[in-house]
Symmetry: C2
Subunit: 773 residues, 2 copies
Amino acid sequence: MATLGDIGLAAAINILTAFAFLLAFAVLRLQPYNDRVYFPKWYIKGVRSSPTNSGSFVNKFVNLDFRSYITFLQWIPAALKMPEPELIEHAGLDSAVYLRIYLLGLKIFAPICILAFAVLVPVNWTNNTLEIEASKESDLEFSTIDKISISNIPTGSNKFWTHLVMAYTFTFWTCYVLFKEYAIIAKLRLHFLASQQRRPDQFTVLVRNVPADPDESTYELVEHFFLVNHPEHFLTHQVVYDANKLSKLVGKKKAMKNWLDYYKLKYERNSSKRPTCKTGFFGLYGKKVDAIEYYTSEIDKLSKEEVKERDRLKKDPKSVMPTAFVSFKSRWGAAVCAQTQQSRNPTIWLTEWSPEPRDVYWRNLAIPFVNLKIRRLVIGVIFFFLTFFFIIPIAIVQSLANIEGIEEAVPFLKPLIEVPFIKSFIQGFLPGIVLKVFLIFLPMILMIMVKFEGFISISSLERRAATKYYIFLFVNVFLGSIIAGTAFQQIETFIHQSVSEFPKTIGIAIPQKATFFITYVMVDGWAGVAGEILRLKPLIVYHLKNIFLVKTEKDREEAMDPGSIEFNANEPKIQLYFLLGLVYAVVAPFLLPYIMVFFGLAYLVFRHQIINVYNQQYESAAAFWPNVHGRVIVAMVVSQIVLLGLLSTKEAANSTPFLIALPVLTIWFHSFCKNRYESAFRKFPLQEAKMKDTLERTREPNLDLKGYLLNAYVHPVFKEVEDYEAASVFNEEDYENVLVPTKRTSRKTTPAPSKYTGSSSSSLLDVHEEYHF
Amino acid sequence: MATLGDIGLAAAINILTAFAFLLAFAVLRLQPYNDRVYFPKWYIKGVRSSPTNSGSFVNKFVNLDFRSYITFLQWIPAALKMPEPELIEHAGLDSAVYLRIYLLGLKIFAPICILAFAVLVPVNWTNNTLEIEASKESDLEFSTIDKISISNIPTGSNKFWTHLVMAYTFTFWTCYVLFKEYAIIAKLRLHFLASQQRRPDQFTVLVRNVPADPDESTYELVEHFFLVNHPEHFLTHQVVYDANKLSKLVGKKKAMKNWLDYYKLKYERNSSKRPTCKTGFFGLYGKKVDAIEYYTSEIDKLSKEEVKERDRLKKDPKSVMPTAFVSFKSRWGAAVCAQTQQSRNPTIWLTEWSPEPRDVYWRNLAIPFVNLKIRRLVIGVIFFFLTFFFIIPIAIVQSLANIEGIEEAVPFLKPLIEVPFIKSFIQGFLPGIVLKVFLIFLPMILMIMVKFEGFISISSLERRAATKYYIFLFVNVFLGSIIAGTAFQQIETFIHQSVSEFPKTIGIAIPQKATFFITYVMVDGWAGVAGEILRLKPLIVYHLKNIFLVKTEKDREEAMDPGSIEFNANEPKIQLYFLLGLVYAVVAPFLLPYIMVFFGLAYLVFRHQIINVYNQQYESAAAFWPNVHGRVIVAMVVSQIVLLGLLSTKEAANSTPFLIALPVLTIWFHSFCKNRYESAFRKFPLQEAKMKDTLERTREPNLDLKGYLLNAYVHPVFKEVEDYEAASVFNEEDYENVLVPTKRTSRKTTPAPSKYTGSSSSSLLDVHEEYHF
C-alpha cells in the first residue's frame, strides 16, 4: 500500500502539472494569434473579430503589454463574474445546468467533508488496531491515511455506530440537496421553455414509421391521416428525403469552391501568372490545367449533378423516408399529438416531440421498428462484451503497475525500480495514466454504437452514450479497480466465496484502494481539468491548419474549433467522482478534500470555457438532468451496500438492519423525485402550451405561422442546393413549390392554402368541420 | 424421495377425490333447489327464474327425472358448445380471455410434452447412472421417475446437447405461441372496444389531485381549468364527495327495510297477531315493541338522517374530494386529456382514463400524491416481510411432513407412520395440503394491502394483487419448496456457497423435487379445480341462508352468490403451473402430463362456471393480458437459469455459452412484444376515437350527450338516497339540480346549459372562442 510520502509526491507532481498548464494558459491566452483558440465563442457571436485590424505587425502575434501578464490569473474572477441568467442567455440552458453539476458536487461534499473531518477522523484516529496488527504480522505496512480510515477501528467496536449515524446524515443531506436541485432545474427548464422565442419545434411533431400505402404517396398519406385525426389543429407537414448522396455532392462542391477561392486570391495577389493545378489525386499528379477555369467548370458540373440528384429525390418515391415533420396550428395541438397514440398498431404512426432543427440527426430518421429493436439487441450484446471483457487488459496492466508485479514480470529492472523516487512515481502515477489512455478513445466508440442504435436527435445520442459510458466506468474503473486488483492478491479466497461475501469483498477492498483513487482523482481530475483549459489539441491543430491549410478568411473561420461540453464524455466522469466521494465519505474521508478540489477547479475551468470557448450544437433545455440525478442515486445506493459489506466484516452485525433501510429509502426517494419532477423533462404540459398560444394570439393576431414553419425542417443540404439554384439558371418554379417552398414575402403574407393542403383533401376537411360542434 | 408407488397412491386419491367432486356436482346441479347455486348467471341475466312455478311440491326440490341422471356428464359438451363470440357477448371479454390462459397452457405444453416424451425420455432412460450410484452408496434410493429425468445422464456426457437443443426448441415454441396469442388478444380487445355500445367511460377522464384554491371551490376550479385548457372539448364534470358516512347510513336503512318486509310478510300470513320484536342488540333483549311500527319509524328516522348527511356533504366544502370526473364532447377529447400532462407540476391535475362506473373503487379517490407514495413504500416493506418471513412456517411444516422429520418430532407415532399405506399417504398428500391451507387466506390479505395502496378501480386492484400473489407464490411455493426443503437436508453446505453456486443449488434440487410438485399439481390442480365446480362453500352458505335468514324473495336473490373469476387469486396459481411446466420440461418431463391434465380440466370447469355461474363485477376488456404474458416470460427465464445451473453441475460446461443466449433472447422478445402490443392495453388510439366519434355523429346527430353523462359517475349511495327522496316529502328542487340532477325527460331533451356550465364561466368561454380559429 502506498504511504503518505507516495501520495505527497504524486500530489506534488499533479499540482505542479496543473499549475504549469494554468500558467501556460495564462500566457498563451493573452497572445493575439491564439485569440481564435481561446475565445471562439465570441467570434461566433460576432462580438470579437480578428485582431489583425490595428497595431503594429508584431502586436498582431505577440502581446507585448507586460502589465497584462502581472494579472495573469484574472480569468478566474472574470469566469465567475457573469451571473447565471446572463450565462443562460449567453450559452444556453444546457451549459448553465451542466455547470450546476459541479456546483452540486460542492454543495453535497462541502458539509460532508467538514462533518467527516470533525467527527469520523477523530473517532478513527483514537484507536490503535493497525499498530497492534502490525506488531503481530511484521510484513503488514500501514500509513497515516489508513490510521484515519475505518480500518483502524477494532472489530466489533461500538464506535461503528458513529459511522452508521454519519451514513444516515450523509444520505439525508445528499437527498436533500438533490431534491432542491431537481426543483431548481425543473423550474429553470420550464421558465426557459416558457420565455423562449417562438421556435419551430414548439409546433412540430416528428412522425415515424408512416405505413406504406399502395394508393397514396407518403406525402399525401401523412396529410390525410392528420387532417382526419387532428382536423382542427393540423397545419402543414414536410416529408424527409434520403439525402445522404446529395449531402456528399454538396460537401464535394464546397471543397471545390474553397480551392477556387484560394486560386482566385492567389491570382489577385499576383495577376501576372494564372495559377495552375494538377487534376489527379490531391493535386499531386495528372495533367496541369488552369486552376480557376478547371475549378469553375468542375463546380458547374457538380451543381448540375446536384440539381439532377435533387430532381431524382423528388421524383423517385423510394427516396421519401417513412418519416415526416408535422406542424400544428398551435402549441396545444402539437403537445397533444406528441403525447398521444395515433393508431391501433403502436408500431406505426409513432409521434414524438420534434427536436430542434439543428439537433436532428438526419441519418437515423428512416429506421423501421423491427430493425430498431434488433439494432438495440445487437448493440446491447456488443456493449456487454465491451464492458466485461475490456476489464481484462486493465486488470493485467494494473497488476503490473504494482511494484511487486513489475519486479516479477521484468526482474532485470528491479534495481532501477527500487530507487525510492522512481518507486513512488510508479506507484503514484502509473495506474492512473494507464486507465486514462484506455478511456480517451472510449466515448467515440460508444457514440458510434449509439448512432447505430437509431436515436434521432444529437442530444438523445449524447445522453444515451453518456449512460453507456457511465456503466462502463462503473464496471471497469470502479469495480474493476477494486475487485480485479484485489482478485490478483487474494484470488484463492475469492473464488470460493458465498453469496453474502460479495459485498464484504468489496467492502474490505474499498479502504485499501483509497490511495489508488486519490491518485486517480489527481491525474484525471486535477491535471485533466487544467489540461482542458489549455486546449492543447485545438491549439496545435489550429496553428497547423493556419500554416498549411488556411487559404481564405473562411478557412480560418473553419479552422477555429470551439468544441462543446461533450456531455457524453464528461458527465460520466463527473459521476465517477460523485461515486468515489459518496463511497469514501464514511470509509476513508481522507479522499474527500481531493474530490472537493476537483469540483472547485472544474467548476472554474468549465465556467470559463463555456463563456469563452464552447459553442453548443443544440439546446435541449437541460433534458439530461434526470440522468444526472439518477446516477447520483446509484452512487448513493452503491456506497450504502459497500458500507453494509464492510461493517458486516467488522462484526458490527447489530447495525446491519439499520443499514438495509438506507438503500430502500434512497430508492424510494428516487421514485418520489421521478414522479414529482421527471415529466417536466419529458412532456410538455397542456396548460403551458395553451398559455403561450393565447398570449401569442393576443400579441400577434395576424401571424403567418405556416410561412414561419414552411422551411424549418428541410434537410440542410436542400437549403444549400437551393441557395446555389437561386443564383443560377436552373431555377424551376415547381421545384421550389414542392421541395423547398419559396421564401418570397408575397407568398409569406398570403395565407392562401398551398396546392396540397387545399384541394386534394378539402372535401374530407369539410366533412369533419360539419361534425364538429 | 417418493417412489412411483407413492405417486400412484397420491394420484389415485386425487383422481378419486376429483371424480367424487364431479359426480357430486353432476347430481347436485340437477336438483331444482340448488338451481340458484349452479346457474346464478342465468338468473342475473333474467333468462331463468325460480323453479317454484310449476310441477309438484317434491319436484320443486328434488329432480325425480331419472333420465337426466344417466347423462350426468352432459355439462362438459354443453360447456364447450358455446362459441367464443357468443361467450364474449354472454360473459364479457375478461372472462373469455381468462379462459384463453388455460388454452395457452394447452397450446404451449401439448407439443412440448409430445416432444419431451419422444426425445428426452428415451435419451434419459438409456443410461444407468443412478444404478451405478445406487450400487456405490447403499442408502441412495431412486425410482422410475428419476430414471427418466435428467439425473440419469452421466456427468459430462455429450447427451446434454439433446437437452440444450430441446431447451431452445421449447423456448422458441413458447415465444411463438405467446406472440400469436398476444396478437389475437390485442385484436380481440380493440374489436371489443370498437364494437362496444356508447359507454360513459369512453367520454370521461378521472382527474385527481385537483389543487386547493382559496378563491374557488373544487367544482368551479375544475370547470375553469378545463374550459381554459380544453376549450373545444370540455363538456361537463362531476366532483366526488366523501360519502363513506352516507354509505353506512344507507346500508343500515337497507337492513331495516328488510326486517320491515319480513314482519309485513309475517303479518300478512297471520293477520290475527301484530308481530313484535325487541329493540336491543340483534333483537335479543330490550323493550318489546310492535315490529312494523318500530321499523317504519326507524326507517323514517334514518331517511331524515340520510338527507341531513347529504345536505351536509353538499354544503361543507371539506366533503368534496380533490377529485373529479370530467366528461368531454367526444371520445377524441377524452383520449387526448387522458394521455397528456395538464399542469407544470406533474403531481397535480393528474388525468387518467376513468374506469367504468361499476369498476370505480370510491374509497380511494381522495388520496393525495405524497400520501400515495408513502403508502406504496409502507406496503412494499410489509409485503417484503410477508413474502420472506412467511417462508419460515412453511419450511418447518414441510420438513416435518417428511417421514423422518415426523418420526423425529413425535417418536411415539413411529409405529403408526410406518404402516405402508399411511406412509405413502403422508408423503404424497400432506406437503401439498399444508401449503394449500396457507395459501387460501393469502389473496384476501393481499387485496387489503393493495386497497391501502390507493388504486382507484377494482380491476387495477385485482391486477396489482395478482402480481403480489405471484411474487409470493414464486418465492414461497417455488423457491421455498426447493431451497428450504433442500436447505434442511444440506444446510451445512449451503451457507458456505459461492455466487455461481446459487443457480447450481436450485438446479440440483429441481429434479429431486419433481415428485413433490407432482403431488402439488394433483392436490391443488386436479382436486382443487374439481372442488371449484362443486361450489361447496356457496352451496352450504346458500342453503344456510335460505333456512335461517331468507325472509323475502329479495333476500333469496341476495343469498345467491354467483362469485367471480377472482383474477387476483386464480391467475397467479395458473402461472405457477406455467412455471413448473417450463422448468420441468427439460429436467423431468414426467411432470408435464400432470400439468396438461390440470390445464384441460381447469379449462372445462372454468368454461362451465363462466357460462353458468360467475358474474363479473366489471369489464376491463382483457387489460390483464400484459401481466399474464410477462409472467410466462419470467417463468421461461427462470427455467433457463435453472437449466444453466443444473448443466454446469453436470460438467457440460461447453454448453453454457449457448444457454446464456437463451435468457437474453427471451428478455429481448419480451421487450419486443411490449413495444408491439402493450400500448393496445394501456392507451386509446386517437384514430380509433375519431372513427367512433364520426360514426356516432353521422348516426345520431341530435344525441344529448350531456344528458347521457349527467348521472354516470354519481356515487352509488346518492342514487339510493335520491330514490328514497323521490318518493318522500323531503323533495327539494335545488338539491336535485346540483347533486343528482333530475332524470326527467323534459330536461334531458332540452340541451339548455345547466346553471354551472352556463353562467359562471360563459365569459371565459367566449374569450377563448374568440382566439380559436
